[in-house]
Subunit: 290 residues, 2 copies
DNA sequence: CGTTCGTTTGACTCCTCTCAATGGCAGTGG
DNA sequence: CCACTGCCATTGAGAGGAGTCAAACGAACG
């Protein structure tokens, strides 16, 4: 069944005009979320065995950073909506994202989509799996990636005392993120979910040395909803509510200005973030759980 | 704050009678879920460096199975409710569960508990982390474990070409489980969550060669609720509903008889499980999403 | 036999989903 | 230059599923 959903999704990817047709053909898959500019041709992962990669990768084994493994690989470009790989495909490559954002998601049998994460520039995708990809990856914005065959990647890592702990750390971070997401989905209400989400992006933005507390959200409300376990309407309503509270302010099409970061942190309900709680005042002190 | 919650939880673990007192002292932590027989003393993880373990572990390096690393370690016994380690503690040990069941959970600032998983006999806990435990572990039933220092474990693994992929596979399985859990929490209703849960246990039970489709659920409704992102009332009501549908039947205090496994699989809504869908008939064909 | 703890059941509330309509922006073609 | 169209976002009204509060029940245990 998953194969069917996946196949159907690919079909949608390949469509030129008739994407709504596919939806009617398979009533079970009512919401296969055709991507914005799905007119682009499907991105086929090449199955060539890059023998030369292996040699090159191992020879770079003494380098300290995982990214250096990818340094000499050709850069591949993805247009928004283009797929990098599909759930269920045999996991032949590991990817280093140089620029852009991707969504990582699964489609379940009734056609719903669950975004399990977003991947940004500097991240590496496709490490923590054996055999087949557990999820699909799709570009949200124009994206540049470099790829390495798993074989090359694994060999380089196996040979390097330096890289192995890095890979392990990477997997641990992924695990920690998954746990946080489980906490969010388990017992946070819409406002807390959104605040947690924005807070994460705010931290990332600020740590990159941004001057203004403006977060860029390349994804659509649908993406956010599918990530946070909410509908687009609820996401939209919650943003409106936070704006009217004065926590957020508008800042362009795909951006939000965080006016009260500390309130945002409080509303996120993670609890253990006290750093800047007194930088602004709580307007509405309510803290109810559903 | 997390430290406070954790500390408060430890306090509760140590309590003899006055566990409700602690709750009132810290209004934020209204539901610290004192464990059933919390009268037991707190289990302190020993910090001795087992130098001899390391030698022994490496000398066992040529063995094929991860469990053999633990084979010569002394068996430790945990009574129900006893803690193995706490969230935030520095992750000094890796554990091999020989017998019994543990819950793996996190406490968030408002006192809620999220169970991220259950650990059964044959599982290994504490692998996929660096530095500190991301969660607490607590025995549900009488449990037997063996421990190895991380140092010994890591060294043995690093030295063995055989063990490394096993550890990697283990981490991948954990990751896959986390993803499945995210799907469950993201977009399944109470019935689907419970069915998924029961189905997982049923599969485990049957694969162990059980003759009867009876799943043993050592945990309480509260544990199930905290795992599935539901309240005890909803868990209870859903079980009642499934029983009245004829899918489940009572089978003792902590057990459930699965009368219609295929219906259970259908209701779980995972989609890609067709194997035995025709073994029984769907009574109520409804398949709504909330 | 009484207490305690876990479970079940009921009544009610409320948060989020669903359905539906509107608004706004961007790209396209006349 | 402007209407048209498609997509995304917003807003509203209504419904329903799960949470909350409360009480009763049942099993285990001293």
């Amino acid at each position: 069944m998953r194969e069917l959903a996946s196949a159907c999704y690919r079909l949608l990817q390949n469509r030129t005009v008739f994407h709504t047709i596919s939806i009617r053909v398979l009533p079970g898959f009512g919401q296969l979320y055709p991507s914005k500019d799905g007119g682009s041709a499907m991105f086929l992962t090449s199955n060539r065995i890059h023998g030369y990669e292996i040699a090159r990768a191992t020879e770079l084994g003494e380098q300290s950073c995982l990214h250096t493994l990818f340094a000499r690989q050709p850069v591949e470009h993805l247009t928004p909506g283009q797929s990098l790989f599909f759930e269920g495909d045999s996991a032949k490559h590991v990817f280093d994202v140089i620029e852009g954002t991707l969504r990582i998601f699964r489609i379940i049998s009734d056609g719903r989509r669950i975004i399990t994460g977003f991947v940004h520039a500097g991240d590496i995708v496709g490490v923590s799996l054996k055999g087949n990809y557990l999820y699909s990856a799709e570009a949200i914005t124009a994206t540049k990636v470099r790829r390495l065959t798993r074989k090359a990647f694994d060999m380089a890592v196996a040979d390097s005392e330096e890289l192995r702990p890095q890979v392990f750390a990477h997997v641990c971070d992924e695990m920690a993120a998954a746990q946080d997401q489980m906490v969010l989905l388990s017992c946070k209400n819409a406002e807390e979910r959104l605040c947690s989400f924005l807070l994460k992006y705010l931290r990332r933005t600020m740590s990159e040395g941004a001057l203004q507390p403006i977060v860029d959200l390349p994804m659509t409300r649908l993406d956010m909803g599918d990530y946070l376990g909410l509908t687009i309407e609820t996401v939209s309503r919650t943003i409106t509510k936070l704006t009217s509270k004065g926590v957020l302010g508008p800042a362009g099409r795909h951006s939000l200005r965080i006016i009260k970061p500390a309130t945002l942190a409080q509303l996120a309900g993670d609890g253990d973030e006290y750093e800047d709680s007194r930088r602004d005042f709580v307007v509405h002190g309510e803290r109810r759980r559903h």
